[in-house]
Assembly symmetry: C2
Homo-oligomer: 474 residues x 2
C-alpha cells in the first residue's frame, strides 16, 4: 500500500486517501456520488447513529419515519423552500410503464413530507410540543464535485422537526438542540463553533439558521450541522394550527435540527493524521483490535486473544481479534490506517501472565492486567478519548486569527475573526475579500481571547459591531 | 373510540382496525401505500430490527448499505430478474431540470445494486464466504390494494446477500438462515412453516426459493420471509468469479434471505385479539406501562411510579409511565388496545409497600415486589412471552387440515395438507381447486401428525408423492 500524502500538504488529497485506505466507503458504485457503506464504514455509521439517538432522545424527542417520496403538490407549498431546492432534487416520474399523474420528489429534506401530517396530528395546545426526529437517507442531485461523507448524492441524514406553542418555546428548543449537539461533539471529541448565519445565507424558509462549523486547515471550514428557527414560515402554508388554552387559534412555531454523515467526515478530518484515520472510541468501528503473536508460545496467545475478545464484547465493546495469517507488523499497519483506538498485543508472555500490551492510536504503550483487565481497557479507551480531545482542542484554538483590515483577508491561512457592523453590504465586502463566506455571529464564546470588537472591518463604523467569523467553506 | 370488529368475523377488517386503533402507522400520507411510522410504531420497528440484527450477526453476517438508486443498465443484466420486476418499479428520470442520460430504478431489492460491487470485492477463495446484509427501505409500484405492513409501496426491508464457493456451501448458508429465522420467530413467539416453493412460484432468478409462511385464519396464509439459492444465476451475468485454491476460476454460488416489516404485521395478526394488539416483549414499543393511581395517596403513587420507571429503564426495559390526566380505566383501555405486554398499577397501598399490581396483556394478575421488583418484572415478561407462544402454537396446530380429494379444497377453512406427486400439471389443478396457491414442500416437520402421503391428490399416482401445503395467500 502506498504511503498517504501529508495532511499539511493539502487537506482534500489527504482526506480522500485516508477514507480510501481505511476502507470506509466504496466509491466505485455506478452512480457518481452514491457510495457503498462497506462493513467497516457501516459500523462507524451505526455507532454515530447511536450517539445521535442517545442525545436527542435524552431531550424528549421521539423517533418517526416519513416516506422518501413527496408529491410535487405538497413539495411546492412553501415558496422560498422549493426555490432553494428546485435544481437539486431527483424526480420520480414513472411507476412501471405508467407516467405518474403527480411526479414525486425523492426527499432532499422532509419539511414538505412531514408538515401535512403535523397538520393532522396537532389539534390542541395539549399536543405541543411535538418533538420528533428521523434518521433516513436524503437525496440531492449534486452537480459539484462529490466527496465521500462530505458531499454526496445519497446522504445519511438526521433531522429533528419540532412544533412549539410560540417563539419563546421554539427559541428554547434551539437552545436544547445546541446542548444536545455539544454532548454529541464531546463524544466525537470534535470542537466546533456555533454561528448564526447572515440572513442571505440562511436555510430556505428559515427565520434564522445556526450552523455548526469546524476548521479543517488553511482558512477552510466545514459545516457539520444546522439548527433552524422557522417561526410560522411553514406552519402557515401547511396550516399547522392549534387551539390555545383560552380557546383561540394559533400557528405553531417550528424548529429543525439537521446532521448527517458529514460528522463521520469531520471525525476523519479532525483526528486523522499522516498515518491514517483515528477514531474516538464512541464511533470507532472496532474500539479494540487484539493481535495474538504466536512465536514459541504455540496456540496460547491465540486462545487467550479469543477469550479476551469475548470478555470485552460481553462488556459491550466492539472488538476484532485479528487471526489472519499476516505478520504482526502488517496487522499493526492495517489497523493503524483504519484508525482503531486501541491495539492489544498478546504474545506468549502476555498469554501466560493474563496481561496485554496496550498501544493506543496516539502511540501510548502500557501493559495492563492481569487484574481488572476489562476495566483497564475501558479506562484506557476513556483516557484515549480525553487525549484525542485535548489534541483536537489545541489545534482548534490555533485555527482562528483576528483580522483588522480587509486586505489581510486575501492571504488568510486561518479562519478569520473580525468586527462586523451587521450590514449586508459590509458582509459582501468581507466575502469578496476572503473569497469565501461570512460565517456569521458566534452563539457561544470563541476559543481565542478577544477584547472589544472595535470598528467594522468593512465600513469602519463602530456602532453595534460584533465579532464575526469568515472563512473559505469547503 | 368505537369497538373493534371481532377477529373471527374476518381477518382483514379486524387487522386494519387494530393497526389503526393501536396507532402503529398513519395511512393519511399523500402517496397511497406509503405510510408514516408513528412514534409508537417506530419503536416496534426498531425493536424488530434489533432482533434481526442480533440473530443474523450471530451467524457471521456483516452490515452494509448500498445506494437506493440503481442504473437501468445494471438493473437489466439478469434477464429473468428484470422480467419479474419490470412493471413494479419506480423510475427516476430527472435530476433538477435535467433528463438523466441513464434512468435510475428506486431499488425493489438489491441484487442488481450489490452484484457489480461484489464483482470488485471478490478475487480469491480467501474472500469467501461474503455474508453481508442491509436493512433499508425498498420500493414497489404496487397496483393491488395496499395494507399497512403487509403490502406497501415503501417497504422496510431486511436483505442478506451471500457469496459462497460452491453449491454445498450455499446450501449450508440456506440452512444457517433457516436457523437464524427460527430464533427470530421464537423471539416474536410466531410459529411458521418453511416451504420450498414450486418452481413456477420461485423468485425471479432463483434456483430455488424457500418461503416462510404463517396461517392467518380461514384457509389464508401470509408469506413473511424468503430464502433463495441462486446458484450461478446472478454470478454469471455480473461476473462474480474467484480464484480457486488450485489456481482455477469459478463463479460464486449466491444466496439471499429477505424479511420485512411484514413481520410486524405478522405479530399483530398472530397475537392480536378482539381487544386490540398484543406485543411479545421483544418487539413491544413499551414493554411495561406504569399507571399511578393517586386516590387518597396524594403524590406518593406518582412518585413511586416515576422511580420504578427509572429503575426498570436502567435494566434496559422500554417503559412508559402514564402520568396523563385520564382516569385509570381509560389508561388501561388505551394500553390494552396498544398491546403493551405488562401493566403495573401503583396505588397508595403499592406505593407504601414498594410493590406493584402486575396485569399482563393476557389478563393474568399478580402482586410483585417489594423484593427484587425489577427481576420480578423481567420474569413476568418472560413468562408472558412463553404463554403467548403457547397460545399461538395451539392456534397454529389447529390451522392445518389434511385433504384427500380435490373437491375438498373448494370449501377449505384451513390450510390444506395434501399429497402431491411433484408434477406442475397436478400443482395447477390443486391451485385451481383451492382458488389459491400450492405453497410447496415443507422443509421441516409439520405441526400435525401425518402418516404416509399416499396417492397424489391430482393424478392419483403414488410414485414419489410428498406432503405439500395449499392455501389462499393473503
Amino acid at each position: 500500500m502506498a504511503d498517504l500524502p501529508a495532511k499539511a500538504n493539502g487537506f482534500i488529497d489527504w482526506y480522500l486517501a485516508v477514507v480510501e485506505a481505511a476502507n470506509l466507503t466504496d466509491k466505485r458504485y455506478g452512480v457518481k456520488g452514491m457510495n457503498v457503506w462497506t462493513p467497516y464504514g457501516f459500523l462507524a455509521r451505526r455507532a454515530l447513529d447511536a450517539v445521535m439517538v442517545r442525545e436527542i432522545e435524552a431531550t424528549g424527542s421521539h423517533p418517526v419515519e416519513f416516506p422518501a417520496l413527496i408529491p410535487q403538490t405538497e413539495f411546492q407549498k412553501e415558496a422560498e423552500h422549493i426555490k432553494g431546492f428546485t435544481t437539486q432534487v431527483y424526480w420520480v416520474t414513472r411507476g412501471g410503464a405508467t407516467e405518474l399523474d403527480v411526479p414525486l420528489v425523492l426527499r432532499p429534506t422532509s419539511e414538505t413530507a412531514m408538515y401535512p401530517i403535523f397538520h393532522l396530528w396537532i389539534r390542541s395546545h395539549r399536543d405541543l410540543p411535538l418533538n420528533v426526529y428521523q434518521i433516513v437517507n436524503t437525496f440531492r442531485y449534486e452537480t459539484k464535485t462529490t466527496r465521500p461523507f462530505l458531499r454526496v448524492r445519497e446522504i445519511h441524514f438526521f433531522e429533528e422537526h419540532t412544533c412549539q406553542s410560540g417563539d419563546d418555546q421554539a427559541t428554547a428548543r434551539v437552545a436544547s438542540n445546541l446542548g444536545a449537539f455539544r454532548r454529541m461533539a464531546e463524544a466525537l471529541a470534535v470542537p466546533y463553533v456555533a454561528l448564526r448565519r447572515p440572513d442571505w445565507d440562511k436555510f430556505p424558509g428559515a427565520f434564522y439558521s445556526i450552523a455548526l462549523d469546524i476548521p479543517v486547515g488553511e482558512a477552510r471550514t466545514l459545516q457539520i450541522g444546522t439548527i433552524h428557527h422557522y417561526r410560522e414560515n411553514f406552519s402557515r402554508p401547511y396550516e399547522i394550527e392549534y387551539e390555545t388554552p383560552d380557546g383561540g387559534k394559533a400557528f405553531v412555531h417550528q424548529t429543525t435540527f439537521g446532521l448527517s454523515e458529514r460528522l463521520l467526515g469531520a471525525v476523519v478530518a479532525v483526528h486523522g493524521d499522516d498515518r491514517g484515520a483515528v477514531f474516538p472510541p464512541s464511533v470507532a468501528p472496532y474500539q479494540v483490535v487484539i493481535v495474538p503473536i504466536s512465536g514459541k508460545g504455540g496456540n496460547l496467545p491465540a486462545q487467550f486473544a479469543e477469550r479476551l475478545g469475548k470478555r470485552l464484547r460481553d462488556r459491550g465493546l466492539r472488538v476484532h481479534v485479528d487471526t489472519s495469517e499476516d505478520r504482526p507488523g502488517a496487522k499493526y499497519y492495517r489497523w493503524e490506517i483504519a484508525g482503531v483506538p486501541l491495539r492489544l498485543e498478546i504474545g506468549p508472555r502476555e498469554a501466560e501472565a493474563g496481561t496485554a500490551t496496550a498501544v493506543d492510536r496516539l502511540g501510548h504503550r502500557s501493559v495492563i492486567g492481569p487484574a481488572d483487565l476489562e476495566t483497564e481497557v475501558e479506562r484506557t479507551l476513556e483516557g484515549f478519548r480525553g487525549a484525542l480531545f485535548e489534541k483536537a482542542l489545541s489545534a482548534f484554538r490555533g485555527a482562528f486569527e483576528v483580522a483588522t483590515h480587509l486586505d489581510q483577508l486575501r492571504d488568510s491561512t486561518k479562519v478569520r475573526v473580525l468586527a462586523w457592523c451587521g450590514q449586508e453590504a459590509c458582509g459582501h465586502q468581507i466575502e469578496k475579500a476572503i473569497d469565501g463566506a461570512l460565517l456569521g455571529l458566534p452563539e457561544e464564546e470563541l476559543p481565542i481571547p478577544l477584547g472589544d470588537p472595535g470598528p467594522c472591518i468593512g465600513c469602519s463604523s463602530t456602532a453595534g459591531t460584533r465579532w464575526a467569523l469568515a472563512s473559505r467553506p469547503l
